[in-house]
Symmetry: C2
Subunit: 149 residues, 2 copies
């Protein structure tokens, strides 16, 4: 009855999810414990930290996050004084988001953690493996659904 003809653990969507979850766990614990953030909130914080001022939809575009997720994350981050919002005077639909000083300190902290964490994750890999891994993952992340039948 078992199917020796297919190795589930090597099926890429499954394997990628396992790797992603396992390798996110300990970092997730840190931004949750230190700042009470969810994944969505961490992502918004980092986008603002890395790219500077952005609007919600710019973040959504870059992070592949739906606008409702971002809306809620921004609301939380604003309530907790990590982020401030400012209406665009030219186009009053737009809101420019920026980190507060407080938010910037949180970003600096987590950003340092992230760098050490990334180093830890890859310390078992060769130089070649590290480079190839990121290159291949970027290709896969750019995969847009298309027909394959």
């Amino acid at each position: 009855m078992p199917d020796d003809n297919f190795d589930l653990n090597l099926f890429l969507p499954y394997l990628l999810n396992q790797a992603a979850e396992a390798s996110s766990l300990a970092f997730q614990q840190i931004y949750k414990d230190r700042y009470g953030m969810l994944r969505t909130e961490w992502r918004v914080l980092f986008h603002l930290g890395v790219y500077g001022q952005m609007t919600a939809s710019e973040i959504g575009l870059r992070a592949n996050m739906h606008k409702t997720k971002i809306s809620r994350a921004v609301q939380k981050l604003t309530e907790r004084r990590f982020v401030t919002r400012a209406r665009d005077e030219g186009d009053r639909r737009l809101e420019h988001l920026t980190l507060t000083d407080f938010g910037h300190r949180a970003y600096d902290d987590l950003h340092r953690v992230a760098q050490r964490y990334d180093a830890m994750l890859t310390e078992g890999l060769t130089e070649v493996e590290r480079d190839m891994l990121r290159g291949v993952l970027q290709k896969l992340a750019a995969t847009r659904p298309r027909d394959f039948t």
Copy 2:
């Protein structure tokens, strides 16, 4: 204000999640459209298809899924006649899960789709990249949270 010192898109937990999501999308669409399954249900179905009869906690152990997720997935799969449950006579806490004929046909179908899909995902990669990718991802999937500060 922007931080040129950190490339978010190369941060492994983030990059892995992006790759995992992008590369799961089209496959997810198929098991959802054809069989109305969720990710959890698809995973249980595949575990039973690949490994044969299993208990819920064996699946949880292999798939790194919480028992409540599995409990609910099994309930759905049983309602929809993909799976049958049988009490263990020796230890009446245990339930052995197996695919019905109907469930097996669904597995066979999706399993074929999965193989073609995997081939499509990796068609842009070299032989070396493919092998290294799966090897490295398996290492990362085995990452257990530990101290890195």
